[in-house]
Structure formats: structure tokens, C-alpha cells
């Protein structure tokens, strides 16, 4: 039953390789974009931490900066 499902009348190799290629492409793209996101976010956090109190106050007035700092989402 399972081997029949995998074999697919001799077309299994084509069908499975097409689906695996698609899922692999998705995983690679997701990983690359995720790495870029984490890198930029960490850069932002370290830069924000390096600001003196006056500059940090100015930066904190912008809502988007607060959002970036508070976004601890794990996508």
C-alpha cells in the first residue's frame, strides 16, 4: 500500500522530486529572509543600546522604534 503510494505507477520519482524541490526552495527562502531579519534587528538593538540617554529619548519618541524593540516574535 505505502510502496504503491510512493511508486505512483512509475511516476513517483518525478512527482516526489517536484514536491521536494518546491518545499526545499520554500525552506531555503524562508531561512535566508529570517537570517536577514534577525541580523538587522540585532543591529538595531545594539545601535539603540549604544545611544546616549538624550539621543535614546529622541529615538524613543518614534513609535516604530518602540515596536522594533518590543517585537520578540519568533516567526
Amino acid at each position: 500500500m505505502i510502496s504503491e503510494f510512493l511508486y505512483m505507477n512509475g511516476y513517483g520519482l518525478y512527482v516526489w522530486s517536484a514536491f521536494l524541490f518546491t518545499l526545499l526552495s520554500f525552506s531555503i527562502l524562508y531561512t535566508i529572509i529570517k537570517i536577514q531579519y534577525v541580523k538587522e534587528r540585532n543591529k538595531f538593538i545594539s545601535k539603540f543600546g549604544a545611544l546616549d540617554s538624550k539621543k535614546a529619548q529622541v529615538a524613543k519618541t518614534q513609535n516604530i522604534n518602540k515596536e522594533i524593540l518590543s517585537s520578540t516574535q519568533s516567526i
Binding site: 503510494f5 505512483m8 505507477n9 512509475g10 511516476y11 513517483g12 518525478y14 512527482v15 522530486s17 517536484a18 514536491f19 524541490f21 518546491t22 526552495s25 520554500f26 527562502l29 524562508y30 535566508i32 529572509i33 529570517k34 536577514q36 531579519y37 538587522e40 534587528r41 543591529k43 538595531f44 545601535k47 539603540f48 545611544l51 539621543k55 529622541v58 529615538a59 518614534q62 513609535n63 516604530i64 522604534n65 515596536e67 522594533i68 517585537s71 516574535q73 519568533s74 516567526i75
Partner: protein
């Protein structure tokens, strides 16, 4: 005008939306895979190889849709002088490129058992390859040019030239004798595909669309943080 498209406002939504889109994508993809690989019937001529359609066709549709959106956004950005349109267009491009590659590679895999060849310089395949080159040039332009005004101009030009290729891809099967069959799904008239195959195709298209939305949201957030990093440098 377009005040609702301010990056600050969009970031509030996009930063929270990613996890919900991810959950929805996994759910829809799981249903789609079961439908495509288990529940949908085999074709009377192509047997099980027809299942490749469930990744090949959505990949092609979405890569075409994304390129059209990029062109529309680039032109709108240029007309309305809104830089955020360019940022949205740039964030859409990576998933468009990957869907284009998926369509080309899975098409090649499908071609071997169906036509007996991995590749043919058929009008539809060649025009899809040209679209891939346009995606590549578009993304490279963003990497090469640092001057913002120059990159906006160049990427808009690339999309204008590239969009000419989109109707060629769509109608290539009608205009030339190609290995591809004419369209089986028509929005305005009756589709020739059976509902047992149409349903998994629609589900897989929805899953692919959700994946491109997920990648777009993550990429857009990254681009916004990049801008904010430059802003902190200027403080």
C-alpha cells in the same frame, strides 16, 4: 495622499501579522498536500504525473502575479512620488523569483515523463525563462545601485520592459504551436478541468499565496528596520 501607507503604521500591522500568516500557511499547505498527493485522482492519460501540476501551476501563476504587482507598484511609486511603493515592490520580488524557479524546475521534471524531454525551447518555457531573467536583473539592480533616485528609475524601467513579457507568457499557447496545452482554467468561461482536480489546485494556490505573503511581511519588516538603522546613525 496614501497616509495609510506610512511605514510606521504598516510596521505595527506587519510585525504582528507574520505569526498568524505562518500558522495559516502551514494549515492550508497541509490540506493542499493531502489533496494533491492522496485524494485527487490520477489523470487517464498522464497517470500520477499530473500531480506535479499542483506545484507547477500555482508557482507560475503567482510569479506572474507578483511581477505584475511589482510593475504596478513601481509605476505608482514613480507617479505619486511615494517611496513606500518601491519598498513594497522590492519586498515582493524574492518570493516572485523563487516561484518562477519552482515553475521552471517542476515544469522540467513534468516534461520528462510527459514529452520525453527535460527542456524544449517552447514559447511558454522560453518566455518564463525570460521572466526569470527580469526578476534577476530587478533584484540585482537593488543590490548594485546605492543612489535611491537612480535605483527607483532603473527598477521601474526594468519592470516596464518585463511586463511586456507577461501577456506573451499568458497567450503564448494560443499564438504559437507549443508543447503546452491551451489554458484549462478560464475565469470568464467554463473551465475544462474537473472539480476533483480544480479543488486541490485552488488550495495549493492559496498556500503558495500565503507563503509569498509571509515572505513579503518578513522582508518588508527587514527593510524598514534597515531604514531605521540608518536613522539611528544620523541621530
Amino acid at each position: 495622499m496614501f497616509k495609510f501607507l506610512e511605514p510606521n503604521k504598516i510596521f505595527l500591522i506587519t510585525s504582528k501579522a507574520t505569526k498568524y500568516v505562518m500558522v495559516l500557511f502551514i494549515l492550508v499547505l497541509s490540506i493542499g498536500l493531502v489533496e494533491a498527493l492522496v485524494l485527487s485522482p490520477q489523470d487517464y492519460k498522464q497517470s500520477h504525473s499530473v500531480r506535479i501540476m499542483y506545484v507547477h501551476v500555482p508557482g507560475a501563476w503567482i510569479s506572474l502575479g507578483i511581477f505584475s504587482s511589482i510593475t504596478f507598484l513601481s509605476l505608482s511609486g514613480y507617479i505619486f512620488k511615494n517611496k513606500n511603493f518601491f519598498l513594497i515592490a522590492k519586498s515582493l520580488a524574492p518570493s516572485g523569483l523563487v516561484f518562477n524557479i519552482v515553475a521552471l524546475v517542476t515544469g522540467s521534471i513534468w516534461g520528462k515523463p510527459t514529452w520525453g524531454t527535460w527542456w524544449a525551447w517552447d514559447a511558454r518555457i522560453t518566455s518564463m525563462l525570460i521572466l526569470f531573467l527580469f526578476y534577476l536583473i530587478y533584484l540585482l539592480a537593488w543590490r548594485i545601485y546605492q543612489n535611491k533616485d537612480k535605483v527607483y528609475k532603473i527598477t521601474t524601467l526594468i519592470t516596464i520592459f518585463g511586463i511586456i513579457n507577461v501577456p506573451i507568457i499568458k497567450y503564448s499557447v494560443d499564438w504559437w504551436n507549443t508543447l503546452h496545452q491551451p489554458a484549462s482554467i478560464n475565469i470568464l468561461s467554463k473551465s475544462s478541468i474537473h472539480s476533483s482536480m480544480l479543488f486541490p489546485l485552488v488550495i495549493m494556490t492559496a498556500a503558495f499565496a500565503l507563503f509569498s505573503l509571509l515572505i513579503f511581511l518578513m522582508k518588508y519588516n527587514t527593510e524598514l528596520i534597515k531604514i531605521k538603522n540608518k536613522g539611528l546613525d544620523r541621530l
